[in-house]
């Protein structure tokens, strides 16, 4: 099983070579090395996954190096491979390899490409360390490593203030979650005396019912630990409350959004809960919290997604919402379904992001869907890829016949929530159903605004610039206004004379491969992930309760058909509002202005946090500095002492020049005292 060493460390090696070699190395070698490394890792990962699919592979741990030994705390660098890891391995390496390839085209005009590819590979390494972790601390290493890579990639265009702000926000908000994660690790070590994941999971059931003192109160031990760890998961997976960084993270280049902020990193929280599922199973309270937070995030993000106009932000909120599904699936005990949705989501969401990137590429960096329209004919391949992604995310399919990827995984989650039979399960089910309606609506809205209708490109500044640059070299004398105006008159079709081009092959191939994933990932793998007797697939790498599967089969027929019904409804509303009667959205906004504003401003979370945390922190910092340090401590401390001495000697100047001597004098007196005392003994 040494192939896992290559899978994990080859991307690191590539990142180091490309990063340090940078411009001396040259663009093409840097790209070949990083992309090549990822394709090798990917090629080595699939056999491992297939081995587990076949049921004959066994879990293994490959030790690498000692890390920390301190008293009874002992953890090492080691790579664990079991079914859960294998699933993540193929997701990470496949999407990463495709994103590397895609970036050849998407980033082709970028002068700083080696740095970009080095960051991408570094990210992949950290993510692989996270999913192969055999102890909580290595998981935290990967956790922070992906955070670093995310920070660097969001801020890749470091001259852009908004990108820098977004990068910093992502890191700091994640750190709030990390506070929980770290406290969770501390508590886990205190309770179990180890940070080894298998050892903890084995001992966890025995801790049921025990209590622990925490922050002055007394609570159920496992509830405290699981909630602390879950706070970490909430940060990384952008759950309600700690989600604010994810939409801003769209400042990064689009391939980054696809890889990190859709397919892999943001699912780390889900992975963590599934990996630690035997712990969570011991605490119904923590599971209830996971369910509640997941369901709330699911609906929150879906509502916001319906109003956004930036194509990437729509998909970002969609990601946030889909992560909510994964969490409440875990919360109701359907960890298999949760991982299944993670798996299918990785393909169709990466596809949607890369498709959006292709649209942005064609539209000369314009990201506002209000200035799209009618692109179906100009970029047909991108259109079809996006269609596949949308069919997958909205869950199109017919029960027992065939469906796109999301159909299997999302329906499994909804059925599991209903089958749970608790109030919270129904709560999650109904929010999930409503969110599915919204998902269908905003996804089709995106398709209709982008690819259908008439072009509305002429209003876009980006397009105007593009047209201007293409035409403008020979008539510099014209004023910009006049010039642009002239073009408007020439092209009454709304295109401003702009001709979008389909993306190059290196971008289309990843779209094609991911399209296949979006179409087939559900139907091919659902037997392995979520059906009766698949306990032998998971092999105890997560809690897989057969009775949950039975209950899912026994849900009423309307529950099975509800997702289809809401999907169709969402499609119909989107079709009516954006194709049939395009005045409808504006009329709706007029009617429900408050609601629209509330959603458009993302429930005012950013404003709230700014007022509650950022502004007071800065204010407190200034008060502590100016008032406490300088106004009190210095004033009555050293300055006060100086004043007293100065009053006494009435010669401040003398003090200032003579203090060294006085100090030396004190030293001398002390020494003489010491010596004479010793002698006197």
């Amino acid at each position: 099983m040494s192939s896992i060493l290559i899978i994990v460390f080859l991307p690191l090696l590539a990142a180091i070579i490309a990063g340090l070699g940078n411009k001396q190395l040259g663009m093409v070698p840097a790209k070949v090395i990083t992309t090549g490394a990822l394709f090798i890792s990917c090629a080595l990962s699939w056999p491992i996954f297939i081995g587990f699919l076949g049921g004959h592979a066994e879990a293994s741990v490959t030790p690498v190096l000692d890390w920390v030994k301190s008293g009874n705390l002992d953890f090492t660098w080691a790579l664990r491979v079991d079914t859960l890891t294998a699933v993540m391995l193929v997701v990470i390496t496949s999407v990463s390899a495709l994103v590397h390839l895609y970036s050849w085209g998407y980033m082709s005009e970028e002068p700083d490409q080696p740095r970009f590819f080095a960051y991408l590979s570094l990210f992949t390494f950290a993510m692989l360390m996270l999913v192969t972790a055999d102890n909580l601390v290595q998981m935290f290493f990967g956790w922070e490593g992906v955070g670093l890579a995310s920070y660097l990639l969001i801020g890749f265009w470091f001259k852009k203030p908004s990108a820098n702000a977004a990068a910093m926000k992502a890191f700091v908000v994640n750190r709030v979650g990390d506070l929980g994660f770290m406290m969770g690790i501390f508590g886990t070590f205190l309770v179990f005396g180890t940070v080894s994941i298998p050892a903890i999971l084995e001992a966890a059931p025995g801790m049921a019912g025990s209590t622990i003192g925490f922050l002055g109160g007394r609570f159920d031990t496992m509830t405290v630990l699981c909630i602390l760890l879950f706070i970490g998961a909430m940060g990384k997976s952008a759950q309600l409350g700690l989600h604010t960084w994810l939409p801003d993270a769209m400042e990064g280049p689009t391939p980054v959004s696809a890889l990190i902020h859709a397919a892999t990193m943001v699912t780390a929280g889900v992975f963590m809960v599934c990996r630690l599922s035997p712990m969570f199973e011991v605490s119904p309270t923590a599971l209830a919290m996971v369910t509640f937070v997941g369901a709330m995030t699911c609906i929150f993000a879906a509502t916001v997604g319906t109003t956004q106009t930036d194509i990437k932000r729509v998909i970002a909120y969609s990601t946030c919402s889909q992560l909510g599904y994964m969490f409440f699936a875990a919360g109701v005990g359907a960890y298999g379904a949760s991982m299944f949705h993670l798996f299918t989501h990785a393909f169709f969401k990466a596809l949607l992001f890369l498709g959006a990137g292709s649209v942005i590429h064609a539209m000369h960096h314009e990201q506002d869907m209000r200035y799209y329209g009618g692109l179906r004919k100009s970029i047909p391949l991108t259109y079809w890829a996006m269609m596949m992604g949308t069919l997958a995310i909205t869950g199109v399919g017919i029960v027992d016949v065939f469906g796109f990827a999301g159909f299997y995984s999302k329906d499994a989650i909804l059925e599991a929530a209903y089958a749970k039979g608790t109030e919270l399960g129904y709560f999650a089910f109904f929010l999930g159903i409503f969110a599915a309606l919204l998902t269908s609506f905003y996804s089709w809205r995106l398709i209709f605004l982008t690819f259908f209708g008439k072009p509305r490109w002429e209003q876009s500044e980006h397009i105007q610039h593009a047209v201007h640059d293409a035409h403008g070299h020979d008539d510099h004398a014209h004023g910009h206004e006049e010039h642009a105006h002239a073009h408007h008159d020439e092209h009454s079709d709304g295109t401003a004379g702009y001709h979008p081009h389909e993306s190059p092959l290196n971008m289309l191939i990843p779209l094609g491969v991911l399209s296949v994933g979006a179409v087939l990932a559900g139907s091919v793998f659902h037997h392995s992930f979520v059906s009766e007797g698949t306990g032998h697939f998971w092999k105890g790498s997560l809690i897989f309760a057969e009775h949950t599967i039975h209950a899912m089969h026994d849900v009423p027929l309307w529950v099975k058909w509800a997702p289809f019904a809401v999907m169709a409804t969402g499609l119909l509303i989107a079709w009516y509002a954006y194709i049939k009667n395009t005045k409808f959205p504006a009329a709706f906004v007029d009617q429900f202005g408050f609601l629209y504003k509330f959603l458009l401003n993302k429930w005012y979370f950013d404003e709230l946090y700014r007022a509650v945390f950022i502004v007071p922190a800065m204010w407190l910092g200034r008060v502590f500095w100016k008032v406490m340090d300088q106004g009190v401590i210095d004033r009555f401390g050293p300055n006060g002492a100086a004043w007293v001495v100065a009053q006494g000697s009435r010669a401040a100047a003398k003090l200032q020049s003579g203090y060294l001597y006085s100090y030396a004098l004190v030293m001398l007196v002390g020494l003489v005292g010491a010596i004479s005392w010793v002698i006197a003994q």
């Binding site: 301190s70 406290m183 801790m207 159920d220 496992m222 608790t422």
Partner: protein, 511 residues
């Protein structure tokens, strides 16, 4: 190495070189200093290589009675070894940082540095109480001179403040030392470390030492000398101040307060926790609003040192080892950060953050190092900053979840102020033409950055190299503290083996 007085030699080399610096032509003083610090570094590595891990507690001991019970007694354990290694490692870097930027009275400058090296190694190697005291207090004199003579515009005020604070503590500590020697009848530190002082005496002895160590650390609220001292000190001075001098307080706690006064340490642990928690939150918030780079890093040092103090008073192995690693790591990382500031200060002669911006464009290599040290300061796993912070906080969690929670907020605030600094310096548009014209690292700067970066990563990935020499000494200390150890607040009580909210899942129905 039997019997060879390597520690005395390590003290002697910089001392002789210091004298030489005063007599050679002043352009050559820096070469003499560099050579001497390299020789001491080599000796330090010989020391490390020959240190017998797991062997005798005190190694390389030397003893020569001078007069009337006062003796030249040296010897090291693993803790002292690591701090000496840190000192000799950072000294050549300091000389390198001063190479071009010191243009007046070079002879005296390098002599002061070398004298300081002698005294700092002396602090960590001294086994006689009064020898320690002399080294401990005298070590500050060269620092006053470095700030007061070669410092910035407000150097007099800064060194005066530094002086006043440290004076306060040292007088009390000296008195306490007299009492202790009288009581125990010896000035031998190893003997004193095992001596059981009466509990009532421990209280005020502890406080007397605390007065000195808290200032050196520095702990909140006696920290206000540090930002001024750093701001005014030349780069080399800042590196050694952050790198080694701030470690003397922590060393004092681990060598004196804890082993000599275990009961009092337990008694005063809440005081330490309170001051440390205040430091983490308050100084981090202050760091957030700084516009002067050096002040920002100085305030961050106070916050990091607070993690050291909570770890030390966690009364367990993880806390103690974590604190030691934080000290070593902070020595490297804060030193490196001051070096990073020095690199651009040398070019633009300002510490104002706003005068920079967009340095990633014209100084990409510099930006990489700066990023690495920023991340190490934030405590990113894989760097030295994480290992120590993690162990210390894990240690303190065993004692008090409240203290752990408040101190762990440092990871959020630390990320905020460091990334905010990095963003303003390295990212953004190149809004200042003069900053945009600055050249990337030259060979000298490269040579200083690379070893620091390498050790920061080494300590992050394989800290065993640094933990192993200290393990036995920490275990000894932990055993000595065991009887005084306060109860933690976790107190896990075993349950029934069934989920607490059994009725919850029972009416789940699905079962």
């Amino acid at each position: 190495m039997n019997g060879f007085p390597i520690l005395s030699l390590m003290l002697l080399v910089p001392l002789v070189a210091a004298v030489a610096c005063l007599v050679v032509p002043r352009e050559q003083a820096r070469s003499v200093a560099l050579l001497a610090t390299f020789v001491d570094f080599a000796l330090g590595m010989v020391l490390w290589a020959n240190y017998d891990i797991g062997g005798a507690q005190w190694q390389f001991t030397e003893s020569a009675a001078l007069f009337a019970g006062f003796s030249w007694k040296l010897g090291i354990d693993g803790i002292a070894l690591m701090l000496i290694a840190l000192t000799v490692f950072l000294m050549p870097v300091c000389i390198g940082a001063s190479w071009l930027s010191i243009d007046k009275r070079q002879g005296e400058y390098y002599a002061a540095f070398l004298l300081m090296e002698t005294l700092m190694i002396g602090v960590f190697a001294a086994q006689d109480l009064f020898l320690f005291y002399i080294m401990f207090e005298a070590g500050l004199i060269p620092m006053y001179l470095i700030i007061g003579v070669w410092g910035g515009a407000d150097r007099i005020y800064a060194s005066y403040k530094f002086f006043l604070y440290t004076l306060l503590g040292s007088v009390l500590m000296l008195i306490a030392m007299f009492w202790m020697v009288n009581e125990a009848g010896t000035t031998d530190i190893p003997t004193l470390m095992a001596y059981n002082f009466p509990a009532h005496a421990q209280t005020w002895l502890w406080l007397a030492f605390f007065a000195s160590f808290a200032v050196k650390m520095p702990m909140w609220p006696v920290h206000t000398w540090l930002p001024d001292a750093h701001v005014q000190a030349p780069t080399g001075g800042s590196v050694i101040l952050a790198g080694v001098l701030l470690k003397m307080g922590g060393y004092g706690f681990i060598r004196f307060s804890l082993p000599m006064f275990p009961e009092a340490s337990a008694q005063f642990a809440p005081l330490i926790f309170g001051m440390s928690m205040a430091a983490v939150v308050i100084t981090s918030l202050i760091a957030l609003v700084q516009t002067d780079m050096k002040k920002l890093i100085a305030y961050s040092s106070v916050a990091h040192m607070a993690i050291v103090t909570v770890g030390l008073f966690a009364f367990n192995i993880q806390g103690l080892e974590g604190s030691m690693i934080v000290m070593l790591s902070h020595g490297l990382v804060a030193g490196a950060l001051f070096l990073c500031v020095g690199v651009i200060y040398d070019r633009l002669h300002t510490r104002e953050i706003d005068r920079y911006g967009g340095l990633s464009t014209n100084m990409p290599r510099y930006a990489i190092f700066f990023l690495l040290f920023t991340m190490a300061s934030i405590g990113l796993p894989g760097t030295s900053g994480f290992v120590g912070e993690f162990l210390s906080l894990l240690g303190i969690y065993e004692m008090s979840s409240w203290v752990a929670l408040v101190c762990t907020t440092g990871i959020i605030l630390g990320a905020a102020y460091m990334l905010y600094l990095y963003r303003r310096v390295a990212y953004g548009e190149q809004k200042n033409a003069d900053a945009a014209a600055m050249l990337d690292l030259d060979k000298r700067e490269w040579a200083m950055m690379v070893p620091l970066a390498a050790v920061v990563l080494w300590m992050g990935v394989y800290p065993e190299s640094f933990l192993a020499p200290m393990r036995k000494d920490i275990a000894t200390l932990d055993a000595r503290l065991a009887h005084a150890k306060p109860h933690g607040d976790a107190d896990v009580k075993a349950g029934t083996g069934k989920p607490a909210a059994e009725e919850h899942s029972a009416h789940g129905g699905a079962h």
